[in-house]
Symmetry: C2
């Protein structure tokens, strides 16, 4: 459909309020077409947005945004909201795709209250707005929208528990599409099923147990039914949950049929659903292959993840070894503690996380895992400088993990080394070991690992003099390229593969002093608190110049990787310029 | 009581199993006397331990530890368990107090399965043991004990949710003493009250909603009743919650009457309850005084904490300004998100955390707060090198907070500067600001702050030459003392107060180069990823020697502060020795 008859007239929520049931229905169809137009061409969240078209129409029909405050959890379902708040061009006009992000952002619209991208935060955030409103004697509705999958995160519970004894207006809409990113896991989902089966009448009710009033909407894709219940609770003076049963992927048959595949997608053909782009085989696939091989002969293996099997390439493993596979829900804290205890209980757990999400479990890494020296293995995937949304960066993991005692943090430079590191981590029983895999695809290296992994031992890739280039993990490739540039300048640089992101090979670093004036560190992450600063600290009182290259401490939003590399001086030319002057 | 007739015969749980109801009753009284003997003399958790004496007896009567696995949440209620597992000398014999810690620790006993000190972890940890058991075809009971207060933490929910659909043995004992560390807040506590009022019969039941079977024990201090229900659920093949209603502080009238005061105590007189030691006025008290003054004239002020008003000296504020005071439960994640949203909603929230607990909210600091640039104020209290248990260290905050973009992290050197920083933080609206207050009492400084706080501007305390000493926060005192020692050696050292833990005053640092050969950084926290390494990184390519002094990346357990200072070279003599050689 290229004719957006109704949608093109919607420039703000005021325009939505003018519609009648018939035009709302037409609008819903046009919105779905607009969403598909965008996501099929540039990728994005498919199912969550298609499933909440009617909810967005109902919300903007009944409530008065931005006076009334709507907070969307994760905000991966924000497209319908964006379509109704003056941003439809970002969907209908390919030239304007770049105008909007995939998440809410106050810089984009006054109807977006927070930058949101991580899960389970909406109730907490909205409840702060409730109390700020009440303390200032203001009057408006505060609405949090949260998906059933997001309910498994601890922050969502903390927010619901706190808000459950509020004495004023707070409306929580639970968008239950019977799916997390993948399938749901956890006892709570039995309760949601019970509530659906009983048309909301079951006495056993998680939300009531936390103090909320409760309404159920059996068909959450029925705009008129939604409007009716929202009208009923509007201006309520108590906290209330509206449990809305929706169909993830609604209106796009392929997404309705394969909800996990179409939770998020790279660009695809709308007719066939097939991807129209293909990426190189990433590190995640190699990790999954490794686990598959392990599972065949290692009866102690358990593979744990927190609700993201797709992003971690674990779907094959899940199908083949269901008894060794544990998706604990979107519950990274629990995932870390659970893994630690499995190791203490005699198993060899491997827990996988997306780089930007491991930060959701810092306390558990410190207390439940490292204080207990549990020899669990963590794989932190997709790390390094990317062009992602600012909510999904994964450049903060090295500072985060490197100050925790007892943890060993490894950064492979290539697939061969990844396997060596996994072997080493699986075999040892002294420490928790985390392995950092790059977001970037494996690169061609001149280098091939020669020595076995040994605690805090770096490997000299090429012995030279004057300048030593220490390239951590994926940055070894940049070290090699920089060495080539230096060779053109007559400098025969040494190249070092440090392997360990949080431990220094003091012997090797000391040895470098004998014939090097300059040591360069390269890391695929934020400099503040990272690897390079540790090297600089070590050399503080030595007669050698140290240059640290890495990312700045900033949130970057969909900035192309090449641009970031250039901004951070991470090109061979810039590095040579800086160190040779 | 100095006669431990029964207790002295209990050298392992096997001895507990030999007792009858009469001797169990006598044992309980002796255990209380032993607990009071210890805590009155050296301090410790009072109420949580007194309240669970009968529960510990019942657990070790019915179950067979260490074959059956008992995991205690926080483990501040582990004294009764320790008394029954071969460690009664640590309570009855003053010479042996040092043999045991205040928490569980596998190095102490095979009956302690994890080092635990933070809240809300037991269900997660125990559920890992459940799955490790099942995968290995083993047979034993797994029991998690968790207090009602701990249920407010997200990790506890994540664990309960995951475990709620387990299909095998898992026993969760909810020790409901109607108290958190302070009073409970949250909708869940209404449900617990409903369950108590209905003798467990209410259909509205949080635990059932998560998939658990459920039993209620109205008198959780009745050993025989507890034994009966534990016998009933022993070897159960489903997850079950035993909701046990106990009296916090049971058997010690003063603790029964004032549960919050006797949650944890410094040494006290058993007869009067009065403390027998007194500490210097700490930074927490000055922060509380500041908030009190603010509250009188700033109608935007809201004060938030996560269940620890006592440790944060907020009890006075709570009583005086209840409408400006928000205890959100032991829910640090929610506390941070809630504060961020209150700031967005037009208030000026000040959220206070104990230094070791802020790490429970890293993701919320990053996403909910800093990504949104909410101008909330955080006060991180009790930071720096202490002689605390290894579960309660607070030396990791600088690396933790310093890599997060948009956050300003301040470290006052004295009370006057603390107030200036609070004023600056309250007045500005550009950034989230965190202020780090030291665990150590305010020290006498020669220095008094001269200049106003300005973003990333350091202050020169004393201009000298050759050696510059940069003493962050409480370490400014050490910088002054070191300068005195250097003066004895004929070196007129410069002293710098950096004020900012995570931002460098590049202009000042560059200016130092003109007349200094050595720059020394001193910080009251772990070096890895901290402040000093940033200075070393900045000076990497400059002709100046940089020495970083601070704590090692290690978990230290009840090591006296003086010993740690010496271990880390943090004495004037050691510093002078190192930098002058």
């Amino acid at each position: 459909m290229s004719n957006y008859e109704i949608l093109s007239t919607i420039n703000s929520p005021a325009d939505v309020k003018k519609l009648n049931a018939a035009t709302r229905s037409k609008l819903a169809a046009e919105m779905r077409a607009a969403i598909l137009n965008r996501v099929s061409k540039i990728g994005g969240h498919v199912g969550p947005n298609l499933g909440t078209v009617e909810l967005a129409i109902a919300l903007h029909t009944v409530f008065d945004s931005p006076k009334d405050k709507i907070v969307l959890d994760v905000s991966h379902q924000s497209y319908p909201h964006k379509l109704l708040t003056g941003r439809h061009q970002g969907f209908t006009d390919d030239a304007h795709f770049g105008d909007i992000s995939g998440y809410t952002n106050p810089d984009e619209s006054e109807h977006d209250l927070f930058v949101v991208g991580h899960t389970s935060t909406s109730v907490s955030l909205a409840s702060g707005l409730v109390k700020a409103r009440d303390m200032q004697g203001q009057k408006f509705n505060v609405i949090a929208v949260i998906g059933d999958g997001s309910l498994s995160g601890g922050e969502a519970f903390e927010g619901l528990d706190n808000a459950g004894d509020f004495k004023s207006n707070f409306i929580v809409i639970v968008n239950d599409n019977e799916m997390s990113i993948a399938e749901n896991y956890g006892g709570l989902y039995g309760n949601l099923a019970e509530l659906r089966a009983s048309n909301g009448q079951s006495e056993n009710n998680y939300f009531k147990s936390l103090g909320f009033d409760y309404h159920y909407v059996a068909d959450g894709n029925d705009t008129e039914a939604l409007i009716a219940v929202l009208e009923e609770v509007k201006d309520i003076t108590r906290p209330v949950v509206i449990h809305v049963h929706t169909l993830k992927g609604k209106g796009y048959a392929l997404a309705e049929q394969n909800k996990e595949r179409f939770h998020w997608s790279l660009p695809f053909n709308i007719q066939t659903g097939e991807l129209t782009v293909s990426g190189a085989k990433g590190y995640g696939a190699y990790v999954a292959e490794y686990l598959d091989v392990q599972a065949a002969h290692n009866d102690k293996l358990a593979v744990i993840n927190a609700g993201t099997p797709g992003a971690l390439a674990l779907q094959g493993f899940r199908a083949k070894y269901p008894e060794k596979y544990f998706d604990v829900g979107i519950a990274e804290e629990h995932a870390v503690a659970f893994s630690s205890a499995m190791a203490k209980g005699g198993m060899k757990p491997v827990a996988l996380f997306f780089g930007g999400f491991i930060q959701r479990a810092y306390d558990q890494l410190s207390q439940d895992l490292c204080l207990n020296k549990s020899p669990a293995v963590l794989v932190i995937e997709g790390c390094g400088i990317t062009g992602m949304d600012m909510t999904h960066l994964s450049v903060f993991d090295i500072p985060l993990l490197s100050s925790i005692p007892n943890l060993v943090y490894l950064a492979p430079s290539c697939v061969d080394e990844l396997k060596r590191m996994l072997d080493w981590a699986m075999a040892q029983t002294d420490f928790p070991v985390a392995i950092r895999t790059p977001a970037s695809a494996p690169q061609n290296l001149t280098y091939a690992p020669k020595t076995d992994i040994a605690l805090n031992k770096f490997e000299v890739v090429k012995q030279g003099s004057k300048v030593a280039l220490i390239g951590l993990g994926s940055m070894l490739s940049l070290a090699e390229k920089t060495a080539e540039k230096l060779a053109e300048k007559g400098v025969d640089a040494t190249i070092v593969n440090p392997r360990f992101a949080n431990g220094l090979d003091e012997e090797l670093l000391t040895a470098l002093l004998s014939c090097h004036d300059v040591v360069v560190t390269l890391e695929d992450g934020v400099l503040a608190g990272g690897f390079g600063e540790k090297v600089a600290g070590f050399y503080g009182d030595k007669a050698v110049k140290v240059y640290n290259f890495g990312a700045a401490r900033e949130f970057t939003d969909r900035v192309p990787v090449e641009e970031l590399y250039h901004r951070y001086g991470l090109t061979p030319e810039q590095i040579v310029q800086k160190i040779l002057g």
